[in-house]
């Protein structure tokens, strides 16, 4: 159950008893049923942030102090000093594990500090011994050394650091598709922790942070590793990924959508809208060829197979989720997640004049905008209506800048859109006022 909801209920209880709607007995029963609400979320978050920040500053300070006299030290001294941050981090983490194993905040802070100090130590060593610029080994070593911390200390920020690290690694390896594809199995290592975190506290801040980081990393990872042999496959891959994010964002867990899904919904919707808007431009399709650099000579063997399998799996998931939403009559979600299907159709027909392609996406986006506005109108939801209006305005403006209509007409169009905005808001506000 949602914590804020219970809190609200408890606040209302005294009022309800006073008005005689609820008896004291039933109120007590309600309290018993839902139990005590610990209002620790905010303080915990603050503790984590301050604790992490504090330990980070201390660590950086130590490194700065040492770096000041760096050149006077012998190589051996430097090597020994390089271990200081690491040992400090380990000591702190061990202390927390022994003395405060119950404190999630302390564990998160200490785990984050240790994760960063592992990196600091290896980087100090790499400077002492003039490691080459190719950072892939350095990053991978660092990431493998910190991922167990996530599981031993049940901490999510090290998991986020790990995800970012392997994404950067995959980016460095993007010239070598066989290695770059390893992003996916490496990312899967975080999955059990993510599921665990969801089970622990589905509404917690850290799952929100983790899901946001994971999404961004998956998008980058996909661009580094997928569709290496399919020209322009990214058009389908990215619409599928955004579509999956968006669908998952609306998936009902325990009968409700939750906090961690908000970034999924936001990123998914934004991504889908921007992608589709891009797809409505003639210039985009005509110059698409230059966005599809393919060098098949570099792609061979197992890398290709994994690439194909993952790409197909992602597209299939997106379509399955679209079908699921369609069947459940989640029409708004289904409409949003139809983009990969449209992308596949346009990819298949390979329309050389791009007339039909543009028609499909323009009509689609227009339908989406109108649907958004009418849904908002029906539910009396001003923000949904305004989002729809904004989307529509962007679409219309895009078409106007696309074409050779003169300035007067463009100006008039802007005025009409502006009036439309005001009129709709005015009407809705009045309707809401009337309802009250």
């Amino acid at each position: 159950m949602y914590k804020a909801g219970i809190k609200w209920l408890y606040r209302e209880l005294s009022d309800l008893i006073a008005k005689g709607i609820l008896s004291q007995e039933s109120a007590d029963k309600l309290r018993q049923h839902y139990g005590e609400v610990k209002s620790t979320t905010k303080t915990t978050a603050m503790l984590i942030i301050l604790g992490t920040l504090g330990s980070l500053l201390i660590g950086l300070g130590i490194i700065l102090l040492l770096a000041h006299n760096w050149e006077q030290f012998s190589r051996f001294t430097r090597a020994v000093i390089s271990f200081l941050p690491l040992v400090l981090g380990q000591y702190l983490a061990l202390w927390v594990l022994q003395k405060k194993p119950q404190s999630g905040a302390l564990k998160e802070g200490a785990a984050t500090f240790l994760s960063l100090m592992v990196g600091a130590s290896i980087s100090l060593i790499s400077q002492t011994y003039n490691f080459p610029a190719d950072a892939s080994t350095f990053i991978l070593a660092w990431m493998f050394l910190i991922i167990p911390i996530t599981y031993l200390m049940q901490a999510s920020i090290p998991a986020a650091i790990y995800l970012i690290g392997i994404t950067i690694w995959s980016g460095i390896q993007s010239n070598d598709p066989v290695k770059a594809i390893l992003f996916w199995p490496l990312a899967a290592i975080v999955l059990p922790h993510f599921i665990w975190a969801l089970r622990q506290k589905i509404y917690a801040l850290r799952t929100t942070i983790l899901s946001f980081v994971a999404m961004v990393c998956i998008l980058f990872g996909a661009s580094f590793s997928l569709g290496r042999t399919w020209p322009c496959a990214w058009v389908i891959i990215f619409s599928s990924l955004y579509s999956i994010f968006y669908s998952l964002g609306w998936l009902k867990v325990n009968g409700a959508t939750t906090n961690w899904q908000r970034p999924l919904r936001l990123v998914g919707a934004l991504g889908l809208f921007i992608l589709t808007l891009t797809f409505t431009f003639r210039h985009f399709w005509l110059s698409l060829g230059s966005f599809c650099h393919l060098d098949k000579s570099r792609v061979f063997g197992i890398g290709v197979l994994l690439d194909y399998m993952l790409t197909i799996a992602i597209i299939a998931t997106a379509i399955a989720l679209f079908y699921y939403n369609l069947k459940r009559k989640n029409s708004m979600v289904a409409l949003f997640t139809a983009v990969p299907l449209l992308a596949i159709i346009t990819y298949m027909i390979k329309d050389p004049t791009v007339f039909f392609t543009l028609l499909i996406f323009n009509v689609y986006l227009l339908t989406l905008c109108i649907r958004q506005i009418t849904t908002g109108f029906r539910n009396n939801n001003l923000s949904v209506v305004n989002t729809g209006m904004l989307m529509l305005a962007i679409l219309i403006m895009a078409r106007f800048f696309d074409s050779d209509i003169n300035f007067v007409m463009k100006g008039l169009a802007f005025i009409v859109i502006g009036i439309g905005f005001l009129a709709v808001n005015f009407k809705l506000a009045r309707r809401q006022g009337g309802a009250k």
Binding site: I125, T128, N130
Partner: protein
């Protein structure tokens, strides 16, 4: 009970976290102690290309070698770059092989492209770390000495079993750290 197991596992992890960097150090220390010493002339680095900050960006002079016959190298493919020492005592790259060479000095590198039947080598000798304050001046000095008409800069490298570790950087016959001190930098 559960916490005890976690603490034990954490201690194991802590040990691994210490051993991995230690092994990195040990590997390089062994090369620095036992490896053969080579002097590579260095070329100037495009000043816009070089990152500023804590190191001097290096480029070994003549880092392209004749292409391996009958083998098409892929981008980023690992190669063994063969080394020869000339009459002045400077090391040069003379060829690249796919298989580990026997009885010859070599360094593990990557092919970073081909040009005019020559293979460009991506060498692990590209950074020389300095103290933050002296790094910019060091890079200036390096560029002066590495100029085409002067070419009085070289990097001292130890190599063992194809693994290279930079020992130090020399400009105008002295270590770059001393050259920086002479020019009054880093203070």
């Amino acid at each position: 009970m559960k916490n005890k197991i976690i603490i034990r596992l954490f201690l194991c992890l802590a040990l691994v976290q210490l051993v991995v960097p230690l092994s990195m150090i040990a590997k390089r220390e062994i090369v620095l102690k036992q490896g053969a010493q080579f002097r590579f002339k260095v070329a100037p680095v495009d000043p816009y290309d070089a990152f500023r900050g804590r190191y001097v960006a290096l480029r070994v002079d003549e880092s392209s070698v004749p292409q391996v016959k009958e083998i098409k190298l892929k981008y980023g493919q690992a190669v063994y770059a063969l080394i020869e020492v000339d009459a002045q005592g400077f090391a040069r790259f003379v060829g690249a092989e796919i298989n580990r060479p026997c009885g010859r000095a070599y360094i593990c590198a990557r092919a970073s492209g081909t040009y005019n039947n020559k293979v460009n080598l991506d060498l692990p000798i590209d950074r020389y770390y300095m103290e933050e304050k002296s790094a910019p001046l060091a890079e200036k000095i390096y560029r002066q000495y590495a100029q085409r008409n002067k070419q009085d800069a070289y990097v001292l490298v130890r190599i063992k079993d194809g693994f290279a570790v930079i020992e130090s950087l020399y400009v105008g016959g002295q270590r770059i750290e001393d050259a920086v001190k002479q020019q009054g930098g880093g203070k």
